[in-house]
Amino acid sequence: MQFISFGFLIFLPIVVLINLIIPRKWRYVWLFITSAAFYLSIDVKGSIVLVLSILTTYFAGLLLDKEGDKKGRDKLIFVLCLIINIGMILVLKYLGFFERTVFGIIGKEAQDTIASRIIAPIGISFYVLKAISYLIDVKRGDLKAERNIVKYALYVSFFPQIISGPIERAGDLLPQFSYPLSVDYDRLRDGSMQMLWGYFLKLVVADRLGIFVNSVYSGSGTSGLVTLLATIFYTFEIYCDFGGYSHIAIGAARILGIDVMKNFDSPYLSMSIAEFWRRWHISLSSFFKDYIYIPLGGNRKGTVRKYINIIIVFAVSGLWHGANYTFILWGLLHAVYQIIGFVLKPVRDGAVKLFKVNRSSFSHVLYKVIVTFLLVNFAWVFFRADSVSQAVGILKTCMHPAPWALTSGELFAHGLNEANMLLALIGIGILVIVDIMNYKGVVIREKIMAQGIWFRYLVAIAAVLVILVCGIWGPGYDAASFIYQQF
């Protein structure tokens, strides 16, 4: 059962209705039952891994939380539990990759081995990180271990988050399971509107752009300008896809009385790569910062060490996204961007001073946003490509613009006719406007809710109709999954 399935559209209202009826103190049981059912409907075999992760971290947490002088034992339990959980990811997600790499180094042909046939359980990269963050928080003493195993299991498996996050911290979520917020009419409306926005981004924009992008990336002989456009479309596709998912997840949690952290905050309006990572996939970025970068020393141990730490964090981030060199390169590119940014900071500051640039002027802000966007766009080429050589090929093609593709009809030969192309561009336009408003602290959803009833109804009905009519779904399209689900 995916978020974009009829099953989910039936499942969620039932869950919400019963959740409204059940006494608050028992809601977590209901949410756990439904979360288990949700996951089982997607991946029965994978549920074994989920249970293993829950049980190991739950009992390890209890043991770590016991009073007394037991540093050695705690360390052993902690490391063992980490090994088990990270080991599960490594084996299930990366064994095939490691095997291919080793075979490549020794010059052997990779055969059809068990490793190459392993399919990682759905959401493993997300729920294991949640479990690990809980374990570390307990170990550090930042969090009391959860005694109630159902509540803890719900924390790891909470169905709006289990497939692709946000990777919420236990400290934020567990108290909400104990004392869930009352779900009133306004909360229902707000959560539903956020879900609608998510469905719009996913079905109307992301999957529409995906048709064009897939056609260009899987074809050959495409002109430079169209290829360049495809790379830009992918930049928006992945944002709308993952951002859309996150909005659906956050909205679904909200109408269940649970507040979930924001995962995106107008990332493409960032004025630097560092800012981009504070606004893109916030739950993952903060995980890496809190549990890898800072423990490695962060920026406290000198400049060189800081750069090494950045490289480590982004290499891990790349690898986390997938078992392929393209992802590692993507991560490293972001690390390099940041290091170059730090190295060139004096030069940039000097230039600003020399040319008397007003840093807060619109033109300078726009310049920085565009440069950051283009750098991010460049890196996404590696993220999207099936291989490094394909990514290089795409970039080379972009170097030969061939502007006549705009008028020769080639633009519309990649799965999107004029109407669909126009709709895709309108979708991007709406996204940009909403993000600019969000950047300025204006939440469009709240603005709509503050209007008269006829306007609210009009917007909501129009949104549903646009999603249903213009959304990419139904036979002929594989819109059944989200890009980040594979990670």
């Binding site: 109407a419 109709l465 249903l468």
Partner: protein, 497 residues
């Protein structure tokens, strides 16, 4: 509590409005082919005006023209044929139709009786995915118009195996929502019930002429299908259903270029009909159409063939079915109007058509008068199809004796035809254009004029001196010339330039 009730009411209003809008969107984006075909069926069934239902595949769609049946026999019939309809699809089409009307007779064509698969989305083992796709798409044309209900669910469950595909029939918005970028005015007119509709009571006429019809060997005398097929099972169900409801049923096998297996299936249809004691008309064995002139393609009849088959069936029903003649009944005026409109359109098409075969096909329907002239040395004298078409219009074999030139005057108003060939001439034959005189003079020059206007030579003008074929159409009543078209022959192809 008051706030809760108010919120509940507001939510209810919202969902009601949303449901109405989604329903409207569903109507607008739905493909209109199915509702186009059946819109008149629902209207006529509501008024209990349908006496005969014609069931079957596209063979039926193209072969049976209810306008002909009404115009010539006063029979009110609806053509329910579906593109690619195998017998089980035809069965469910009938079951759906019987939910809306109770005809006096059902005529079911048994084409594809030999098909031995149940599900249209599976078909035979190793079926081509393209064929499966076409089969499912064609079923949409048959099914989309029927509202969601118990019968439709049963039909879809019986015809489609894949649960996802079943849902696409029950909730066709799943399939059609992405038509949003191709919507036109007609799609929006569906909201007010004014979308385009079939004007031939479900039939579709085709106007091409198959120039290379094929004939196949006959099977052994009395050869039948070797085993029991799904097609046979559903033909039995159709007959059962009709007999249970007291509806007269007749099984047909409409004419086309049937291969040996089709002929065996036709024999088997007769055997099934015989089991139930219902009449069976195997038109493959009857001299109703001429495959050289009456086929649109090897599988389907053209308008000329449909006229012949419809008249045959109309006569059969008149003789055997005890049906009322509704002509002259004011409440059936729409039937008359549509029949008149169809035959009126034949004249218009004949006037606008620039394909020689089609023009002659339309002339053969005798709705517009015409003069056909082949000059000496014309390629038309070596074209069997063309000569046969002329022969059909003339009702004689004179054309076969001609070496050139040749003229045929078909005066529909008087019901007479006049021919002359080689050195022969016509002297003052009475037509709506006047008393026409035809006189060949030399290879590129001949006279055709009315005694009342000797200055007007219809068969010669300098600009078209080297065109070897001329076709003139004129109004059967007033004699006004409607079109005068010149053709040049290039082998068996004819061009107007």
């Amino acid at each position: 509590m008051k706030t809760k009730i108010l919120n509940f009411c507001k939510a209810a209003v919202f969902f009601l409005l949303l449901a109405v809008c989604i329903l409207a969107a569903t109507v607008v984006v739905r493909r209109k082919e199915s509702s186009y075909k059946y819109a008149d069926f629902f209207d006529k069934a509501k008024n209990d005006q349908i006496d005969v239902l014609f069931m079957g595949s596209s063979h039926v769609i193209n072969a049976v023209n209810p306008a002909t049946l009404y115009r010539n026999y006063g029979i009110t019939a609806y053509n329910m044929g579906g593109h690619g309809s195998v017998m089980q699809a035809t069965y469910w089409e009938l079951i759906e139709a019987l939910d809306y009307c109770k005809p006096k007779w059902v005529v079911v064509d048994a084409y594809m009786l030999e098909k031995d698969y149940q599900y249209l989305d599976v078909m035979e083992e190793n079926a081509d995915p393209g064929d499966i796709n076409t089969s499912v798409e064609q079923l949409h044309l048959n099914m989309d118009a029927w509202p969601l209900g118990r019968l439709k669910i049963a039909a879809v469950n019986d015809l489609i195996k894949d649960p996802d595909k079943r849902n696409q029939f029950l909730f066709d918005f799943i399939v059609y929502h992405d038509r949003w970028s191709e919507l036109d005015e007609n799609d929006y007119r569906a909201l007010t019930g004014n979308a385009d509709r079939n004007q031939l009571f479900g039939a579709e006429m085709r106007y091409d002429v198959e120039k290379t019809p094929v004939t196949y060997p006959d099977p052994q005398e009395g050869a039948l299908l070797s085993g029991h097929t799904v097609g046979q099972e559903y033909l039995r169900k159709i007959i059962d259903e009709c007999q249970r409801d007291g509806i007269g049923v007749v099984v047909t096998y409409l004419p086309f270029c049937a291969d040996t297996d089709d002929k065996i299936a036709a024999n088997s249809a007769g055997a099934v009909a015989g089991e139930y004691g219902v009449p069976y008309i195997n038109m493959l064995d009857k001299d109703i159409i001429d495959i050289r002139t009456d086929l649109n393609d090897t599988g389907h009849l053209n308008a000329s063939g449909a006229e012949k088959v419809s008249r045959f069936l109309g006569q059969w029903l008149t003789d055997n079915a005890d049906l009322a003649d509704h002509r002259g009944d004011a409440s059936y005026s729409d039937w008359q109007n549509k029949a008149d409109a169809y035959y009126g359109s034949i004249s218009d098409m004949a006037a606008s058509e620039d394909d020689l075969y089609t023009e002659l096909e339309l002339l053969s329907l005798n709705e517009v008068s015409g003069i056909v002239y082949f000059n000496q040395g014309s390629g038309a004298f070596h074209d069997d199809t063309l000569r046969k078409m002329v022969s059909n219009i003339a009702g004689t074999d004179t054309i076969y004796q001609a070496n050139g030139p040749y003229i045929l005057i078909n005066d529909v108003g008087s019901g007479k035809t006049y021919e002359a060939f080689d050195d022969g001439f016509l002297g003052g034959v009475p037509t709506a254009m006047g008393n026409l005189i035809y006189q060949p003079v030399e290879a590129r020059f001949r006279f055709l004029y009315a005694e009342e206007n000797e200055e007007m030579n219809y068969l010669y003008d300098d600009e078209h001196a080297d065109f070897d074929i001329q076709v003139i159409t004129y109004d059967p009543a007033s004699g006004e010339v409607l079109t005068h078209r010149y053709y040049r022959s290039y082998g068996n192809r004819y061009r107007t330039d």
